[in-house]
Subunit: 477 residues, 2 copies
């Protein structure tokens, strides 16, 4: 910053009031880092504006004083994008948490950035509607953060990511000017679709203050089935089953989670559960479909599964006959909650791959890890209906060599033309590996956009990428 | 341009061959304008590259010689975005028309920009899949143009616009550098989603050369129903019916077209058709739903329509019992093909509005037109499930005052917070009205993005907006 801290902080207090400015030394620990486990950083101050006008006033001041700004939502991010800068302010949107309106006829909702995802879900449910994004941190994460990271989660297969739920945005730019894009229209081809620039930009291009989101009709019924895939190439069988289900339940396949045997074994052991089938199978799919009535869903599911068995795609299947049975099947998949207890610590990956190659990638990855660390424990699972694979390695079984495992996995991701971050974002944590998923030309274009919208580099500096090209070893691990 | 034309044209011929460079005087008339009816412009040359490498070579040359470039697809646009510049080249992608690959397991397709929409649809259909975008110009329009204009059309309600079908793009930038973003992943949160910048930018930020598109399972059955909405607020009844249908057929309501009585009357008269109901109704909806079997669809439709009648939303309904009956019902909606014959000429609008306000907007619009031109003939209809309203006024009934009608309608669109272009784009035709849908802050941000990616202003210059803020009367009619 170009001036001493004192007059700047005083100007902040003058602009938004003393109760909205917490000096660095008094900032609560939860605002110093996020769920990524990145080392805490104490900012100059935590600022908690109550309105878009106050956000704009704060950003104008920061612009005039050349002070960096790190926007903060619910601080549940896994990539470190909300960790403060020591020479900047942390800008929390938590006071701007109103659900301003809900239009049942249009199935849209206008919300301030600081509202939690759960508050949005509950407001929709109260009107018989559904918000299409759901994830584990729903009670803490905020809509502004969901937008800034283009959150994925449980509903992507059916409804897409946060981007697809967003009709309008209000954003405050680095210089404090307000970009009003709060239009509720699905179709609006009037020049550049500017809101797209800010979704997934992790707070580096502007501060999202309000949004208009689209809602879905709440499904009346849901059915769950656990499927053991068959055949010599069980991954291709899984894809064939997915296409078969999507043809029979168009727009209504709500989950298609794959679990490799290593995952199922660990899950059953950790949770003391029984084998779901008579024999173990190398690859298992957990499927949810939605529709008008449970009876109709069960009838249709049994018919599709029969076809799939005849086609040699499915070896065995269990259709849940009650809500309790459905929960029991889902419990196998939800072993991820046990990861921090049973892997110390887990080395977690959230990668995306071309759909047809996920099976080969999982094999190549397992083989490469085994060649170097014969005793490694790695489990493979994921939202494979979206092309999203997760894997977790127990650090103790690779001699604690987290960097070695990351370089090996991300190297394979690059070879397969995949993405080092399907849904968690880059933040600080994956900056060294961004070059594995993005070409130098793309990185140059990103820097040009950053320069155009934030020429002083004040918004969330050092997140996603550094302003100037980094040395080769940083971009290409 | 900074040099005389001769050496530049010779350099072009050296780079891509004489057969790929057509001198201005020899350019076929169809390349001089598009379906907007904008006055034809003869370019320096028409260039027809065969590969991305040739597009890059052409753009490098244009950059070195400061020559404007107007990309051209199928030239079916209605806004004038593909009209050449007299001091630039027209760059036709028509030779790059290969469908490079189709991955049935992943349900994706890789295509060059010059392939027609119909070729993509047919390639998908040959594998039992469906491409989610469809529009009347399918046989001529090209995928590159569909992407550059974020095309809408008939499938938006179920599958979204062109943007939602796009997983990856390859783009050549103004300086001839290639931006490779051809990744087939649904989930890829690795920094800015650059491809979003080029979709809908009407060729002003880069030249789209290839794309990876997502495909859908082809629906097995389709049912059509014509519904007379019930009063006293029949537009709100229409919205309630839409939500009811979407709850019963999640993801499977494929069309929800509204027709006001003026439209139905004109359609029946022009095509000598019979009234579809015993009595005329002020508002009619044409609905398509898709599913597994026709029998199941009909049973479910009858049950939903019964509920809607009890709820006072529906006055009467006809469910098509055969493909022929479905076509007969759709014929009423397809009167738009008769517009150029029966209105001389039609003054056409393609606007978007907040869903809940479309009924009020149509009334306000009709009242305003009647107050000034008591004998005007205007018909109201549209893809109302997407918030998209079309209206057409017979120019003869308003004394030929096209500009007067446009100013009145776009003024009301601005008042209602709507969009002056739902799906056709801005191009040249709607430039004067862009300010009715975009704030000065948004226009400034668009100019900053343009400056960042095309600092010399060579790509499709003067389309969407002028490089520098125009006088007030241009942005706010």
């Amino acid at each position: 910053m170009s001036t001493s801290a004192k007059p700047f902080l005083q100007a902040l207090v003058d602009a938004v009031g003393a109760d909205a400015v917490v000096p660095g030394a008094e900032v609560a620990p939860r605002h110093l880092s996020d769920w990524s486990g990145a080392p805490p950083v104490v900012p100059l101050a935590l600022v908690r504006p109550r309105s878009t006008a106050e956000v704009a006033a704060v950003l104008r001041l920061c612009h005039a004083h050349r002070v960096p700004v790190v926007p903060q939502g619910g601080l549940t991010g896994l990539a470190g994008a909300a960790v403060p800068a020591a020479d900047g302010i942390a800008l929390s949107l938590d006071r701007m948490n109103a659900i301003e309106s809900l239009d049942t006829a249009a199935a849209t909702l206008t919300v301030q950035a600081g509202a939690t995802l759960q508050a949005v879900q509950e407001a929709a449910a109260a009107q018989g509607l559904l918000f299409g994004v759901d994830l584990g941190a729903r009670g803490s994460c905020q809509i502004g953060g969901n937008l800034a990271t283009n959150a994925g989660g449980n509903g992507v297969l059916q409804f897409g990511m946060m981007r697809e739920q967003t009709l309008g945005l209000e954003v405050v730019l680095a210089d404090g000017s307000v970009l009003p894009m709060l239009r509720p229209m699905v179709k609006n081809n009037t020049g550049y679709d500017l809101k797209q620039f800010f979704i997934g930009a992790e707070g580096t291009l502007g501060v999202i203050t309000r949004a208009i989101l689209r809602l879905q009709p709440a499904p009346r019924a849901r059915a769950t089935v656990l499927v053991a895939l068959a055949g010599p190439d069980d991954f291709q069988a899984a894809l064939a089953l997915l296409r078969r289900l999507q043809a029979r339940f168009p727009g209504a396949v709500a989950a298609f989670e794959l679990m490799w045997r290593d995952f199922v074994e660990a899950s059953l052991r950790w949770q003391a559960l029984r084998e779901p089938f008579e024999a173990p199978h190398p690859l298992t799919a957990l499927v949810d479909v939605t529709g008008a009535t449970e009876d109709a869903l069960h009838t249709a599911l049994e018919s599709v599964l029969g076809e799939a068995m005849e086609a040699g795609e499915v070896a065995d299947a269990v259709v849940a006959q009650s809500q309790a049975q459905a929960q029991a099947l889902w419990k196998i998949r939800e072993a991820t909650a046990e990861l921090p207890t049973h892997m110390r610590p887990p080395i977690n990956f959230d990668v995306s791959l071309p759909m047809a190659d996920i099976g080969r990638f999982a094999e190549a990855c397992r083989d490469a890890l085994t060649a170097r660390w014969p005793a490694h424990l790695t489990i493979f699972f994921g939202h494979v209906g979206d092309g999203n694979l997760h894997l977790s390695t127990d650090a103790r079984t690779v001699g604690g060599d987290e960097a070695g495992v990351e370089q090996m996995v991300y190297g394979l991701v690059a070879e397969f033309g995949g993405s080092v971050s399907a849904e968690h974002g880059i933040g600080l944590h994956k900056k060294p590996y961004l070059g594995a998923s993005r070409s130098p030309a793309e990185l140059a274009a990103m820097r040009a956009i950053k320069q155009a919208l934030d020429p002083l580099g004040l918004l969330n500096p050092g997140k996603i990428f550094d302003p100037h090209p980094a040395p080769a070893h940083q971009d290409t691990p």
